[in-house]
Point group: C2
Chain length 372, copies 2
C-alpha cells in the first residue's frame, strides 16, 4: 500500500456524555465514525486498518458524566480542503447531540497547508497605527438603510476616531444597499472623515454569497483601496473563506461567528483555532455579559487560543462584541488587557444625533485607560 | 423610501426556553437580533422600522418551559443568496443555546428564487426505472482504499442490483483515491456490472472543496456520463451547493447531513425544507434505531417535510441511513412505505466475500415487500 504517503496525524478531543462502563466503546465508535464509518472487522486492507482508522489515544474523566476522549487520525484523510478537515473532525459526530468537539491538535504539515492569517493581530494593529492600547470598532446598521444613509453613518462614526468600522453582518448584497454601490460610498465617507481626524480608520465591508460573488466583491474592495473585510465562514463555507484568504494576501480578514454558535464545537477551538488556521486575522465573538451566553472563562479561552503559539501561524486578534457599551470599557480592558479590539455597535448607535461624540468618548476611554 | 421594493415576507418559528413572564421580551429580542441587530429606539428610518425589523406574530406555549415564537421578516433582506437566508433565519441566534429554529415559511418569490430540486423524488426513481417500490442504495468505503479497490467494491455492490451507490462522504480528493482517477474507475465498474444485471444502477460521486474544485469535479462527472452526485451543503456552504444545482440542471443532487447535526435547526426544516429549497433531489439523514439519536417521529417529520406540497417545488426523496441492516427492511418499509431510498452501507460491507449476495438479498427484500 501507499508507503510513500506522509505519516502525519492530527488529534481531535471530544467531550462525551457517557457512563464509565460505556465510554471506551463510545470513544471507539467515534473514532470509527469519524474515519472509515463501517464495521472495523470488515476492513480487509491492512494499511487502512493500521493508518486510516481513528485511534483512541486517551480517555479522561473530569467528572459529572462527561468524559474526554482524544482520538488520532491520519492527516492524509484531509488533503488540503478546509471543509474536509471539518468533516473529519466533526462531520457525522455533529449529529450525536451528546458529543462536543473540544480540542484539535494539528501537525506542522496541516498548519502549513492552511497557513493561518496573513496579517494577524499585529497586522490589524499596524494598519491603524495603534500601539500600546486596545483597538476600537463599531458596526454599520440597520440593514434596510439606503447606501447614502449608511455612508453618512460611517462618516459620523469615523469622525469619532474609531480604528475599524464594519458592515453589520446582515448587510449582504440587498436591493436597498447593493454591495457595488455601498462599498465605494462608505469607503469615501470614511476616507473623508479620516482626513479630518488624522486617523487611519479602516472600513470592513461584509462579503457574502458564492465564491464567485465574493471574488467580485473583493475586486470592488480593492478598487476602493479598502484593505480588510468581514466574512462569516460558517455561512460562506470554510473552503470559500480560505480560498479568498489565499487569493488576497494583502487583505485582512475578520471572521464573524454567524451560524457558528450551534456547531457544538467549543468556541476557543472554533474561533481561536479553526478560523485562525483558515486565515482569520481577527475573530468576532459574543462577549460575556451581553445578550449572548458565553462565560468570562469561554471568552478568556478564545483569546488564549487565538494568541497561543501555533507553529508559524500569526496570532488572531480577539474581537468581543454583542451588547457592549462604552461604559464597560474599563471593566473590559481590566479583563482583556491591550490585545483586543472592542466592538461596540448598537451601544453607540443608540446615541442618535450624538453618535460622533459618543464614539469619541468610547475611543477616548480606550486610549486613556492605563494598560498594565 | 424604496416603495418599489416587493413587500414579500417570510416567517421563522423558534423554540425558546423561557419563563412565561419573559417570553415576549425574548421573542422581540430574537426578532431584533435576526433583523436590525441594534436598539429599536435608535432606528430613525420609518421604512426600516415598518418593514425591516422582525415582527413577533405569535407566541404559543406548548408547555415544559419551551415556547414557540413565530417571527416575520422582510424577504428583501435575503436577496438571492442561500447563505443570507440562513443568516437571516438563524445567524446570530444560533449562538443562543436556548433557541432552536423549528419552522420556516417562505413566500412564492423566495421559492422561485431558489427553485428547489430539478428532479426530485420522482426523478431519482425514474433514473433507475424503479416503480411501485422503495429504492436501494449503498456506500463505498472505507476511505484509504486505493481507487482500484474502491472500483472493485463498486462493481460487487452493483452486481447485487442496487439502484444507487454513493461515495462515502469521507471520500474527498485525497491522495489515496483522487477524484479524477476514482470517478472514472468506479463509473466504469458500475457500468460493467449494470450490463450484467440489466439494471440502471447509478453511481453518486461525493463533491468537496471550493466551488471551483466542485465545478472541476462535475466536469469529470459529466465526462463519465454520471448524472448524480453527493454533496454535504453544511460543509461546502449552501451558496456553493445551490450554485452547482443551478449550473447543472441535468445532474441529480443528494444532500448529506455532515456538519448539519449540531445546527440546532430542526431536522425536518433543515433537510426537508432548506436542503430541498436549495436543490436537493434526495436527503440523506440518520435513521432511527441506528447509531444516531433521531426518533421515529423526527424521521417521519423529515419525510413529510420533503414530500409536502411547497409552491412549485418538486419533492425531495427521503434517504434514511446509518447503522441500518438488511434484516430491518420489512420493519423499515412498514414504517416508510414506498417513497424512500434505503441506504445500507456498513451493514452490507460487513458481509465481506459475500458482499454481492448480501446486496442481492437486500435488493430482493425491498422488491418482494408487499407495499400497501
Amino acid at each position: 500500500m501507499p508507503h510513500s504517503l506522509a505519516a502525519a496525524t492530527f488529534t481531535a478531543t471530544y467531550r462525551v456524555r457517557s457512563t464509565a462502563a460505556e465510554i471506551e466503546a463510545r470513544a471507539t465508535a467515534i473514532a470509527v465514525e469519524q474515519s472509515i464509518e463501517m464495521p472495523v472487522v470488515a476492513v480487509e486492507d491492512a494499511w487502512v486498518r493500521d493508518t486510516i482508522i481513528g485511534r483512541v489515544e486517551a480517555i479522561t474523566d473530569p467528572g459529572q458524566g462527561l468524559f474526554e476522549a482524544r482520538i488520532r487520525f491520519s492527516a492524509d484523510t484531509v488533503g488540503a480542503d478546509p471543509g474536509q478537515l471539518l468533516n473529519m473532525l466533526f462531520g457525522n459526530s455533529s449529529i450525536q447531540d451528546d458529543v462536543t468537539l473540544i480540542d484539535v491538535d494539528l501537525p506542522a504539515s496541516l498548519l502549513s497547508t492552511f497557513g493561518g492569517p496573513h496579517h494577524g493581530a499585529a497586522g490589524l494593529r499596524q494598519r491603524v497605527g495603534a500601539h500600546g492600547r486596545a483597538l476600537t470598532a463599531s458596526a454599520l446598521k440597520p440593514q434596510g438603510l439606503p447606501t447614502d444613509q449608511l455612508a453618512a453613518l460611517a462618516g459620523r462614526l469615523a469622525a469619532g476616531g474609531l480604528d475599524y468600522i464594519k458592515d453589520d453582518h446582515g448587510l449582504a448584497d440587498q436591493s436597498f444597499s447593493p454591495f457595488s454601490a455601498r462599498v465605494p460610498a462608505i469607503a469615501k465617507a470614511v476616507r473623508a472623515a479620516s482626513l479630518g481626524t488624522g486617523r487611519a480608520t479602516r472600513y470592513l465591508p461584509s462579503l457574502s454569497g458564492t465564491l464567485d460573488a465574493m471574488r467580485h466583491q473583493l475586486a470592488i474592495v480593492r478598487q476602493e483601496g479598502v484593505d480588510c473585510v468581514l466574512i462569516a465562514p460558517m455561512v460562506t463555507g470554510v473552503a470559500a473563506f480560505h480560498a479568498l484568504v489565499i487569493e488576497h494576501p494583502e487583505i485582512a480578514f475578520i471572521a464573524h461567528p454567524a451560524m457558528a454558535g450551534a456547531a457544538r464545537i467549543a468556541p476557543p477551538v472554533h474561533f481561536g483555532k479553526l478560523f485562525r488556521l483558515f486565515g482569520a486575522d481577527g475573530v468576532v465573538y459574543p462577549n460575556f455579559g451581553g445578550r449572548f451566553s458565553y462565560s468570562p472563562d469561554t471568552c478568556r479561552a478564545i483569546v488564549a487560543a487565538g494568541a497561543a503559539p501555533w507553529g508559524d501561524l500569526k496570532a488572531a486578534l480577539a474581537i468581543p462584541a454583542g451588547g457592549m457599551t462604552a461604559q464597560r470599557v474599563p471593566e473590559l480592558l481590566d479583563f482583556y488587557g491591550v490585545d483586543v479590539m472592542l466592538l461596540i455597535g448598537g451601544g453607540l448607535l443608540a446615541a442618535g444625533k450624538d453618535l460622533t461624540a459618543a464614539t469619541a468618548r468610547f475611543v477616548q476611554a480606550v486610549e486613556s485607560y492605563r494598560y498594565a
